[in-house]
């Protein structure tokens, strides 16, 4: 028997269980609405946790070395950078900011009157070699050269009036100069002026999921005999980070008895800390999704097994009249498919409704269509699985039942 011939009798049979069917459709629709949005949220979080910052994360480590004020310390920044670089396994080192750890978010202006901010950008400042330690890819213009760099004390004391050479990310260059031609232009952050010397592909200060995460600016200054506490960055030779960072931290501490090493972290650890609570919330949502799926499956199979029990006699009659076991099995599966389809159709409307609510209250993005398609497929599969047990029991009803009175 072909399946489409069964649709009409199935619908006729369902009509006499209108209430229960309507409730099941409602349940599936609500499940679909919640499920679609939850998958969207969780998947978004997971995707976000894999967005690269643009630096060579696998090889970068951070040593936060805090200078104790009032304690004498023989170490100097330039000396420290040399100490770090001579540690085994270390390829490069710098003093300065690192994505997901420290960068200033500043307003940038195109004219010195500072009237209209043209962008908000992450500002990375650091010593010579910051861009090479981070592993920046310069796609246009050039990287810093030793002759470029202003002295750190001139920068800190605001003694320098010449614009500081700066690298921009492509995204920031595009925002500031949509017509192109960023190289050589001057911009301002209210405290300093910058001259664009090069464009790098990516550098994200934070990973919030917003489009402007990748809008960043990087400045280097020349450090020397000062005693500076703060973030010392180490770039190891590929694959040698754990040993290299450990050796570098020990060497740095030895050279700076007046400093406290508060944090020694690899970039991977920084990333893990950064996303810890988001991923934890994601796990909670996954648990809720599982509960939802179980409950829906329970509802479907509960009602189906109830109907099978109720229709034993009719099933026996059909069997007696020549229907095969397969026909009975298919009947219940088709019935389930029809009900779930009804739920899915209603669920699309509910899902968008819930999405609007979440967008309004929790700044969620718009729900893309493919999440709904995936949700529909998941619910169809779930329905078929849930109905399989009762349907098999129905198929096992012997024809002889028809001859017995209930």
């Amino acid at each position: 028997m072909r399946i489409h011939l069964q649709v009409r009798p199935i619908l006729a049979a369902l009509r006499s269980h209108r209430t229960a069917v309507a409730l099941l459709v409602l349940e599936i629709a609500l499940t679909m609405a919640v499920l679609g949005n939850l998958v969207f949220i969780v998947y978004g979080t997971i995707q976000r946790s894999h967005v690269p910052t643009g630096v060579v994360e696998s090889d970068i480590g951070l040593i936060q070395s805090i200078g104790v004020i009032g304690e004498s310390n023989p170490g100097t920044v330039a000396g420290n950078l040399a100490t770090l670089r001579s540690a085994p396994g270390v390829a490069d080192s710098a003093y300065g900011g690192l994505p997901l750890w420290w960068s200033n978010r500043k307003s940038l202006f195109l004219d010195p009157s500072l009237q209209h901010p043209a962008a908000q950008a992450y500002e990375f400042q650091g010593s010579q070699h910051l861009s090479t330690t981070l592993g920046m890819h310069v796609v246009r213009g050039r990287n810093f050269s030793d002759g470029d760099l202003p002295d750190v004390m001139d920068v800190f004391m605001k003694k320098t009036t010449a614009p500081l050479p700066a690298l921009l990310t492509q995204a920031l260059a595009q925002r500031l100069y949509p017509g192109g031609g960023a190289l050589g232009r001057i911009l301002y952050d209210g405290r300093y002026a910058f001259r664009v010397i090069g464009i790098v592909d990516h550098l994200r200060g934070e990973i919030t999921g917003r489009a402007d995460d990748d809008e960043a600016l990087l400045v280097e200054y020349r450090v020397g005999a000062q005693d500076m506490g703060g973030g010392y960055l180490v770039r190891s030779r590929p694959g040698q980070l754990p040993q290299a960072l450990k050796a570098a931290a020990a060497a740095l501490q030895k050279a700076n008895p007046g400093h406290v090493e508060n944090k020694v972290l690899t970039m991977a650890e920084l990333r893990e800390n950064y996303f810890r609570s988001d991923l934890a919330a994601g796990r909670m949502l996954v648990a809720i999704m599982l509960i939802l799926l179980v409950v829906t499956a329970l509802g479907v199979s509960g009602l189906a097994s109830f109907w099978v029990q109720q229709r034993r006699r009719q099933i026996g009659m059909r069997r007696a009249l020549g229907a095969t076991r397969r026909d009975i099995l298919l009947y219940f599966q088709a019935e389930n498919f029809l009900i779930v389809s009804g739920g899915v159709l209603l669920g699309v409307a509910f899902a968008y409704g819930l999405n609007l609510f979440l967008m309004h209250r929790f700044e969620l993005a718009h729900l893309p269509v493919h999440y709904l398609v995936a949700g529909a497929i998941a619910l169809w599969l779930l329905g078929q699985l849930a109905v399989l047990g009762p349907a098999l029991r129905a198929a096992a009803v012997p024809p002889v039942v028809a001859t017995r009175s209930v």
Binding site: L30, A281, F306, Q310, L354
Partner: protein, 436 residues
């Protein structure tokens, strides 16, 4: 009659075991999920200091310039240095405390003790009595110590454990930011959640590892930040190395006021202070003061994390779906009994009787589902506690939540049973009896 209905309900459930178990499981899962989130929400929005919360108040004044673009009507949360000192010296509240927090390089005053950064709270003597902080050893420092900038320190239990192996360290010395401090006391476990007295770093942050006298702390050779600062004007970094910058607020301030008269008195004193500061030219705005009680303050600051609020909404969505599921199963179940109900009606039972009977059955399912849901909620909270987020550690089920969970389960099941029971009671007896 109730006993009889109960008996009938149990019989009916026993007859359709699978269906009964499915209904209970659905309710249990819904209750488990929603009670878990409710308990988390309840803990997060709970009273951090029961018994003391209604005498603690958070004063605010407004030192901002009159024409600050984008400024809200609400005065800053914290005080600028000058206001912190002035209000501290005002001395009309029975108790008051001014504070901030940062971290300082610290070691034991012993030759080979390693230097490390420890978080500290700089505060004044009344802090401990006002907030009911328990002491393991020693005691708080005195107001005299505050006035004389004494170098004394109170340790948390954890820090005492780390530095002194948990023993009585009162009288021992620490070197904090190169100065020598004497341990005055060690406090016991104390971790009010939300951490109401300073929510600049999030309302569910850990308490600091040690406590120092505020004015001694300001004197220290230090530049490790002075707690989160809010500065206005042309230089947003004005306070970076200068806690006394007039355009930056950063100090938390709390007062204890025991009677409504004291509260009113303090409120007018704040206004009076603002007027006086305006005459002196420090303030530009008309008196704009706030004096919120502890719970009002937490309410005003919306301390509950947005993810928790969203998860609570979702958990109740799950409960709703579970209930729709239960309604569907109950409709099917009660209609299955049409014949039985027809006979009862024919024998003289009123619709009310049938309705009551069905409702008792729904109630039994609800109680069973609720009882099953409680261990699930307990499991859920255990899972929440495993999460590496700051507020998770405090998630637990207290007796009031336990009762609420059970009540919720029964109410949910009864609610779910209402309509199916009503439908069952509408069954026309004649038709059913005929078809038997």
């Amino acid at each position: 009659m109730f006993g009889y209905y109960l008996d009938l309900a149990l019989r009916s459930l026993r007859r359709h075991k699978v269906l009964g178990v499915l209904m209970m499981l659905a309710i249990a899962l819904g209750i488990g999920a929603s009670v878990t989130m409710l308990a988390v929400l309840h803990n997060l929005s709970g009273n951090p200091l029961p018994g003391r919360s209604d005498v603690l108040f958070h004063p605010q004044v407004d030192p901002r310039p009159a024409d600050l673009p984008g400024a809200s009507e609400e005065p800053p949360d914290d005080l600028a240095y000058a206001d912190a000192v002035n209000l501290y010296r005002l001395g009309i509240a029975p108790r008051r405390t001014v504070m901030s927090a940062n971290h300082l390089p610290t070691r034991r005053d012993a030759p080979d003790s390693p230097l490390a950064m420890y978080t500290d709270r700089a505060t004044t003597a009344d802090f401990f009595a006002m907030f009911g902080v328990p002491f393991l050893y020693g005691s708080a420092w005195s107001a005299q110590d505050d006035a004389s900038h004494a170098q004394v320190v109170v340790l948390s239990r954890a820090m005492n454990q780390k530095l002194f192996g948990g023993g009585n360290s009162v009288g021992e010395n620490l070197v904090i930011a190169t100065k020598t401090f004497r341990v005055a006391g060690v406090i016991g476990d104390w971790n009010p959640q939300p951490r109401f007295y300073d929510i600049d770093d999030g309302a569910f942050a850990e308490p600091e590892q040690m406590y120092l006298p505020f004015f001694t702390w300001l004197d220290l050779p230090q530049d490790y930040g002075y707690g989160p600062m809010n500065c206005w004007g042309s230089d947003p970094d004005a306070g970076d190395h200068d806690p006394k910058a007039p355009t930056c607020t950063w100090a938390q301030f709390w007062v204890e006021l025991d009677t409504p008269a004291q509260v009113d008195g303090y409120r007018s004193a704040l206004a009076q202070y603002s007027r006086q500061q305006r005459q002196l030219g420090r303030f530009q705005r008309a008196p704009n003061v706030r004096l919120r009680g502890l719970l009002d303050w937490l309410d005003h600051k919306h301390v509950i994390p947005v993810t928790v609020r969203m998860q609570t909404w979702i958990a109740f969505g799950v409960l709703l779906i579970c209930l729709v599921n239960t309604v569907g199963l109950m409709v099917a179940k009660f209609l299955r009994k049409s014949g039985e109900i027809g006979v009862r009606r024919a024998l003289g039972a009123s619709r009310r009787d049938v309705f009551a009977q069905c409702l008792v059955e729904a109630g039994v399912v609800g109680v069973a589902g609720g009882l099953l849901g409680l261990p699930l909620a307990w499991l859920g909270l255990w899972m929440v506690r495993q999460q590496p987020v700051s507020f998770a550690a405090s998630a637990h089920l207290d007796p009031s939540m336990l009762g609420a969970a059970l009540a919720l389960a029964v109410a949910a099941a009864l609610g779910a049973g209402l309509w199916p029971a009503w439908r069952a009671s509408c069954i026309a007896p004649a038709l059913q009896v005929k078809s038997l």
